[in-house]
Structures are given as C-alpha cells and as structure tokens.
C-alpha cells in the first residue's frame, strides 16, 4: 500500500511538472510580447533602449530554454514570478485570491454531488415511467445551460426581483449561495448523467439478479448492491470534474463580481499578464492532481479489486468521457 501511495505521488509530481512545461511553452513561445504590453499599447514613445532595459530586468532577453530552467528553479522554491501589470509576486496574489474561491468551489462541489447523486438514484429507482423520463431529462438540460447565463438569471430573480441574496461581493454565507448553485449546475448535471447511466448498466448485471433471487427488496437491491458498484466510475469522474469546477469560477466570479482566483485569472488574461496566468494554470493542475490522488486513495476502500493497471486505464477512459460532457 505504501509503495502504491509513493508511486502515485511521484506520478502526481510528474504531471505537475509536465503541465508547467506545457503552459510555459504555450505562453512564452507563442507570439506575444509581455514587455511591450507592460509599457502600454502605445509603445512608440518608448526608446528601444528602454525596452531592452526592461527585457533585461525581467530576463526576457535570455534564450527560452535558459528562462525555462531558471523559472522552474524558482517555482521549486515557491517563487512564481511577479505580475507584469501590478508587479506584485504571483504567489501572494494567488494566496489572497484562494480563500473566497475555495469557499464557493467546495460548496458547489457538495451541492453537485448531493443533488446530482440524489437525482440519479431517484431517477433509476422510481417505477412510474413518466416520472422517470422527466427526471432523466433534467441532467441533459443542466449540461446544456451556459453557466454565465444561469448565474445572471439567478441574480435577476433572487437578487433583483426577490431580494433574497446579495447581488455582488463577498458578504458572508448569503453571498456564497448563488455562486455555489451556479457552479454546481454543470458539475451536478454531469454527475447525475454518469451515475444514472452507470446505475442502469449495473442494475442489468447478473449479480443484481442474484440479489433479487435472494428475495431482496428493490430499495435494498438498489442501495446495497447496485449503488456501490455504480458509484465507482462516478467517483472517478467527480475527481476529474474538480478541475472543471475551478475553471467555472472564472465565469462565476465575473458574473457575481466576487474577488477570487477566477477574477484574478480574468483580469490577468485581459491584461495578458503571463506570469499570473501561468501561476493559475499551475494551481489548476495542482488541484486536479490532488483531487485525483484523493480519489485514487479512497478507491481501494470501495473496490477490493485492486487492479491498478485496469484502474488507471479506467480513469483515462472516464476522463475522456467526462471531457465530452463537461462544460467549460
């Protein structure tokens, strides 16, 4: 077991390093010049000497590979560089923004798991065909609704028409509700879709027939036999969805004008502030890796068949499938 955990940790670090490398080369090798952006679009009144001085200050005049090695060394020491527009250290910018984002992301995840999972169980358990069809038509709808629009509609109804929740800002619990619901919608819809599909397949398994032959009631068959088996792929999917949730905060925090990682990202992209964007991408990859590490550690507790090979293959298959239904 210890070897398994250690192996997974090494793998996680590897993925992080690779994600950093990919984002470095995407951001620095493609045509954009952070320095001329820094000095303003109207750079005609800047002398080439001034430009070169700034380049040198940031180290942008060195070969790309040297910059990469240098920056990677800094990252290992926790130094993510400085923002090009505010000149503040990226790590402290991200550190300040993390708190409010974690609040809505966790609340959103919880809502998504509870509502999505509950909907899937209910939809596969009810016997009335019409009710089942109605319940099963909800997740595809949730997947199709744009998150930014859903947030605005929620604002319109619950902040302006019926002033239940505050429209903007970060003022305690009440201000978390609407952003969390907005984040939970696409994630919950995907969970509901995957779990209900998985439940339907599992309920056709011969071992479920064995349970029925024992005289077990439908609820017992559903909860004791089908759910635990069906939950395994949904659990893997949930781990993968956490990263998407972080991406969703960019839109959600913009809609609700909340401070946080998403807002920081949106502003940084607007200003083409490359060090900040790269820092956020790294955090995104870190969250993804941690969530999946957690899932991998919980998984053996639920599934005694510790076949790691097949399991990792399963994760990948699930990843592609989630990617296909997950919404930006």
């Amino acid at each position: 077991m210890l070897r398994y955990v250690a192996g997974r940790l090494v793998q996680a670090v590897g993925v992080l390093w690779a994600a950093y490398t990919v984002s470095f080369f995407v951001l620095w090798a493609l045509p954009s010049d952070p320095v001329s952006l820094l000095l303003g679009t109207d750079s005609s009144d800047v002398t080439p000497e001034q430009l070169a001085a700034v380049r040198h200050e940031y180290g942008y005049d060195r070969p790309l590979v040297v910059q990469y090695v240098h920056q990677l060394g800094n990252v290992l020491h926790g130094d993510l560089g400085r923002s090009v527009s505010t000149r503040e250290p990226v790590s402290s910018l991200i550190g300040d923004a993390l708190g409010p984002t974690v609040q809505i992301a966790l609340a959103g995840l919880l809502l998504a798991v509870v509502l999505g999972g509950g909907l899937a169980v209910l939809a596969t358990l009810v016997r009335r065909r019409s009710l089942q069809a109605l319940l099963l038509s909800l997740p595809p709808l949730g997947v199709a609704i744009p998150g930014f629009w859903f947030g605005l509609v929620l604002l319109q109804w619950f902040s302006f028409r019926l002033p239940v929740f505050p429209a903007i800002g970060d003022q305690g619990f009440a201000s978390i509700v609407l952003p969390a619901v907005t984040l939970a919608l696409p994630t919950g819809a995907v969970i509901a879709q995957l779990l209900s599909k998985s439940l339907v397949v599992t309920l056709r398994e011969p071992y479920v027939a064995t349970a029925r032959a024992k005289g077990a009631s439908p609820v017992r068959v559903h909860l004791r036999h089908a759910l635990r088996n069906a939950a395994l792929p949904a659990l893997t999917a949930t781990g993968l969805l956490v990263g998407g949730l972080l991406g969703g905060t960019v839109v959600t925090e913009t809609v609700f004008s909340r401070p946080g990682l998403g807002r920081l990202t949106a502003t940084a992209v607007q200003a083409q502030d490359i060090p900040v964007v790269q820092g956020v991408v790294l955090v995104g990859a870190l969250v993804f890796v941690l969530a999946n590490l957690l899932v991998d550690l919980v998984y053996p507790l639920l599934d005694p068949r510790l076949e790691r090979r097949r399991r990792s293959a399963g994760t990948r298959a699930a990843a592609t499938r989630v990617d296909a239904v997950a919404v930006a």
Binding site: P140, L246, Q272, T320
Partner: protein, 320 residues
C-alpha cells in the same frame, strides 16, 4: 481442490454463448437455418419508411434537427431569418420589451435583439465548428498514431494527453488566448486545443479495441498487409465513436466559445455574438430581463439540440 487457480492466461475455455444467444436468438427457427430470410437489402422506399417511423417515435429528435437546421440557415444566410440590420439602432425604441415588432425586444441603443442574435449565430457557430475541426484533426492524427504504432510513440503521446487533461479546459483555453491574443479565430483555436486530448484518447482506445479484435487477427492470419488491415478494418470500425464525440463536442464548443466571448475575449463590439450579447445585458438585469435571458435561451436550446442529435447518433452506432 483442482479449481483453486485465479490465474487463467487463456480466454475462458468452454464458450458460454448460450447465455448471450438465449436472449438474442429468441426468434425461434430451425438451427442454422436462414433466420433473417426476410431481411433482404431493403428497397429505398422501405428504408425511407423505416426512417420516418423511427423519427415519428422520437419527436424530441425531430424538434432538435429542425432547430439545428434553422440555426444553420441563420449562420449561413442570416438575412433570410432576420432581414434587419443588426448594427442599426432606433434610439427612440431603446430598451423596449419583446413585442410583435421586436420579438426579443431592443437594447440600450434601440437595436433589435432578435436580429442581433440571428446575425451573431454565424460568428459563434463558425468559431465552434473551427474549434471542433482543430480538435478532431489534431486529435485523430495523434490517436491513430498512438493506437496503431504503439510502443514508445503511444506512451509519449498519451502522457502528453494526460497532461492536457490535467489542466482544466477553460484555464487551458485562457492560456492559449493570452498567448495568441483576442478574437474569434484565436478563441476557436483555444477551444479546439482542449478537445485534442479526449479525441485522441477515444480514437486510440477504439483503434486498440478493433486492432485486437478477432476479425483483425483473422485478417492478419489471412496474410493481409498492415496498411490493408488499417484501411479496410481498423479505420471504418473506429471512427464511429469519434464522430459521436464530435457531435457532442459541438455543444461543448458552443458553450466554451460563448463563455470566452462573455468574458470579452472573442468578437469585439459592435459585432454581435451570442456570449457577448448575454454580457451586454448585464447592466440591465434589474429592469430589462430579455437582454440576457433570450440570447441565453437560444444558446441553451442549440446545445441541447446538438447533444440530442449526438445521443441519437450514438444509439445508432451501438444498438444495444
């Protein structure tokens, strides 16, 4: 106990097709007889009738297809669906609600919102289709290479795909947009990048599934060269799931493209685009609900219709 082995390197010895055939073969016929004697190649008229009956039982699918066709027409020749000028406003008519004259109401400059949504269709759809094309072409090449060549090529490509999957899709798009700059085409490239990994994975796993199937082995044992195996057996039997994925990606791409334009990285004003139209209504949430709600409904319906079509294609591919 002779049966204490859990390691069985061979495939199960005695075949148990009885169970599988028990349900499938319920059509009772003499053994080995021509069970589907009546299943001759259907004449065209009969096939058409079959398709129509198939559709009649799926009204949702019909509505979805009709909607998608309308959207497509709006994208190619918007003036057929809405004859007005999307950029010309009548200041006197500003911020009026939906009416017979202005179906979707008007904005703060008195421009007809319906006309703007229709004329924005092309921009959004163009970006979404470009994104899918990028993801599909790049992803297919990588997936085919990984699945068919295997070995180190496969390992390297799939680790690369792992990394792409580890970066949340929207963040990856944002990184690409940061590097490339704003605009519709750049947004399309950014969105397309996010689907490369999943397309390549699916095609690879399909290629592997088909490559190890008994009929490919039969072809190999029959002396077929590798390129014949690839062209005759592997490709035609692997593209199905990728096409379904492409259809599914249409919805995802529309959502991603409009999200990025909503954030202001796509089409620049005054050019209409679905996501930026929703964003444009943000300042009028309290009073003018239609400015955000109606363009959003159009997006949601289009994504819903695209996904419905994808599911139908999927069901057609594996009729189980």
């Amino acid at each position: 106990m002779t049966d204490l082995t859990t390691l069985a390197p061979e495939s199960a010895g005695p075949a148990t097709h009885d169970r599988a055939t028990e349900l499938v073969d319920l059509v009772v016929t003499p053994p080995d007889g021509a069970r589907h004697a009546d299943a001759d190649v259907a004449p065209r008229a009969a096939r058409l009738r079959y398709v129509l009956r198939h559709l009649a039982r799926r009204p949702g699918l019909v509505v979805a297809v009709v909607w998608l066709v309308t959207v497509l027409v709006a994208a190619v020749v918007p003036s057929v669906v809405a004859s007005g000028d999307p950029l010309a406003g009548v200041p006197a008519d500003k911020l009026t609600g939906p009416s017979a004259q202005h179906w979707f109401g008007t904005d703060q400059l008195g421009r007809d919102l319906y006309t703007r949504v229709v004329h924005g269709t092309g921009t959004t759809l163009h970006a979404a289709l470009l994104a899918i094309a990028i993801g599909l072409v790049v992803g297919s090449v990588l997936g085919l290479l990984a699945g068919f060549v295997g070995g180190a090529v496969d390992a390297v490509l799939m680790r690369f795909a792992d990394v792409l999957l580890a970066i949340p899709g929207l963040l990856l798009s944002l990184a690409v947009v940061t590097a490339l700059g704003f605009g519709t085409v750049n947004v399309a490239i950014a969105v397309g990048t996010t689907s490369v990994a999943s397309v390549s994975r699916i095609l690879r796993s399909e290629v592997l599934r088909v490559r190890t199937s008994a009929y490919v082995e039969a072809a190999r044992a029959g002396g077929s060269r590798w390129w014949r195996v690839l062209l005759v057996h592997v490709l035609p039997n692997s593209v199905g799931p990728v096409l379904v994925l492409a259809a599914l990606e249409l919805g995802t791409a529309i959502l991603a493209v409009s999200s990025l334009s909503f954030l202001g990285y796509g089409a620049q004003p005054p050019q209409p685009e679905w996501g930026s139209l929703v964003a444009g209504g943000r300042d009028y949430l309290a009073g003018q609900w239609w400015l955000t709600t109606l363009p959003g409904v159009v997006i949601a319906l289009t994504v819903l219709a695209g996904n419905r079509l994808a599911r139908a294609l999927d069901a057609e591919g594996n009729p189980s």
